[in-house]
């Protein structure tokens, strides 16, 4: 049943590399490891950490993308989180936000709850679903070279852009990421929309 493919990319390094030259991009994370991956790169005020609302990261980011058309909005989330709200891809595919990029860190497991297999290790192709949902720019990233080639596309290709990065199924250490929703959201809003917004 389960595909025994070996992947070598480390989730934390991948996320750090993607965010290295993020400029004024804003980032929304899905629940779980993605919060810690992004926060450990740099706790930027333009990070919105979702430590709940499983399945909601893409639509939160979509709302931001509409409100901030001049800014690139990145979603960094896990495969389990995306699957829980997979219909959002269809909604985003219809709306075609030019400034939205979705990056799925796919370890084929529910890392936060005991590493149960998700559907992605068992024949479910998220890139295929994104294409079927009318995403014109998609990528499957399985090694360093592909990652390097795609990083400019994440920031520059017309959105909605969608990439799946296959990573090793091992959680990185958690860090003390900000978790107070009121604080994180007010800080985010001021950072992207201006003080007092």
């Amino acid at each position: 049943m389960t595909q025994k493919l070996k992947f070598s990319l480390q989730r934390r390094q991948v996320v750090h590399q993607i965010l290295e030259n993020r400029g004024d991009a804003a980032v929304v994370t899905g629940i779980g490891n993605a919060v810690h991956d992004v926060a450990s790169a740099n706790d930027d005020a333009k990070n919105m950490y979702l430590a709940g609302v499983m399945g909601g990261a893409c639509m939160v980011a979509f709302g931001i993308a509409l409100a901030q058309p001049g800014r690139r909005i990145l979603v960094i989330t896990g495969d389990g989180e995306l699957l829980a709200g997979i219909g959002s891809l269809a909604t985003i595919g219809v709306e075609q936000p030019k400034n939205l990029s979705i990056i799925v860190i796919d370890n084929q497991a529910y890392g936060a709850t005991g590493n149960q297999h998700t559907h992605t290790g068992r024949g479910v192709d998220l890139v295929g679903i994104a294409k079927a949902s009318n995403f014109k720019n998609t990528a499957l990233i399985t090694n360093k070279k592909e990652l390097q080639a795609q990083i400019p596309n994440i920031y520059q290709k017309p959105g909605p852009y969608f990439a799946v990065v296959k990573v090793v199924s091992k959680s990185s250490p958690r860090i003390n990421a900000p978790k107070d929703g009121t604080y994180v959201s007010r800080r985010f809003r001021s950072a992207v929309a201006g003080e007092g917004a």
Binding site: L83, I86, G93, V94, H119, D125, A130, K131, A132
Partner: protein
């Protein structure tokens, strides 16, 4: 992309054709028009009509298919209903139920609420989503001829199979089957299991 063929099929004719030689098929219908379509062919003791639970038709079919591995299960539902529970396609693909067939009547509209456009009107392709979800046997039907070829797929080919039938948004009269949940449940189970 190419130019999409014109949508010509009438939903009532499609469902009538599909159910013409149904044998001992067990049918689950999604809420709204697919339920009325099945009722228009004629009420049947092997029909379980959903009158609610939007997004749940294909998954109800999955549970039924797991419980009744020797029977063929067909789910007929609409594009809006399928979209609301579209993650279910991934769940169904992972279970690889050989006896489950899903047929979408895709009019690209939310028919019961005023014919608003659904996502399939705007580039979202449900049969490709199903294949992205890992379902190997998927197809799209625009013509009578394609429908004729798709019907044996629904009945005979190894499931899960997924057939998206594009139908017109022409209004059809409402034909209402029984709607009392316990009645529908009891007659379905009694006939199938010999007890309620």
């Amino acid at each position: 992309m190419g130019i999409k063929p014109k949508i010509v099929l009438d939903r009532r004719t499609v469902v009538k054709e599909i159910l013409k030689d149904r044998g001992d098929l067990l049918l689950v219908t999604g809420l709204g028009a697919p339920t009325w379509d099945a009722a228009a062919v004629g009420d049947h003791i092997n029909n379980f009509y959903l009158w609610g639970a939007m997004g749940g038709a294909a998954l109800t079919g999955l549970g039924l298919a797991l419980a009744q591995p020797n029977r063929r299960i067909l789910v007929i539902t609409g594009d809006g209903e399928m979209l609301m529970g579209v993650g279910g396609l991934a769940t169904i693909s992972v279970k690889k139920t050989p006896n489950l067939a899903i047929c979408i009547l895709d009019n690209q509209r939310y028919g019961e609420t005023g014919m608003q456009e659904t996502h399939t009107q705007h580039g979202v392709d449900l049969s490709k989503m199903a294949s992205g979800a890992g379902i190997k046997n998927t197809s799209i039907v625009y013509t009578k001829n394609e429908l004729k070829k798709a019907i044996p797929i629904l009945y005979e080919e190894t499931g899960p199979v997924f057939v998206n039938v594009k139908v017109t948004d022409k209004p059809v009269p409402m034909t209402l089957p029984p709607r009392d949940g316990p009645l529908l449940k009891h007659r379905f189970r009694e006939n199938l299991l010999g007890h309620i």
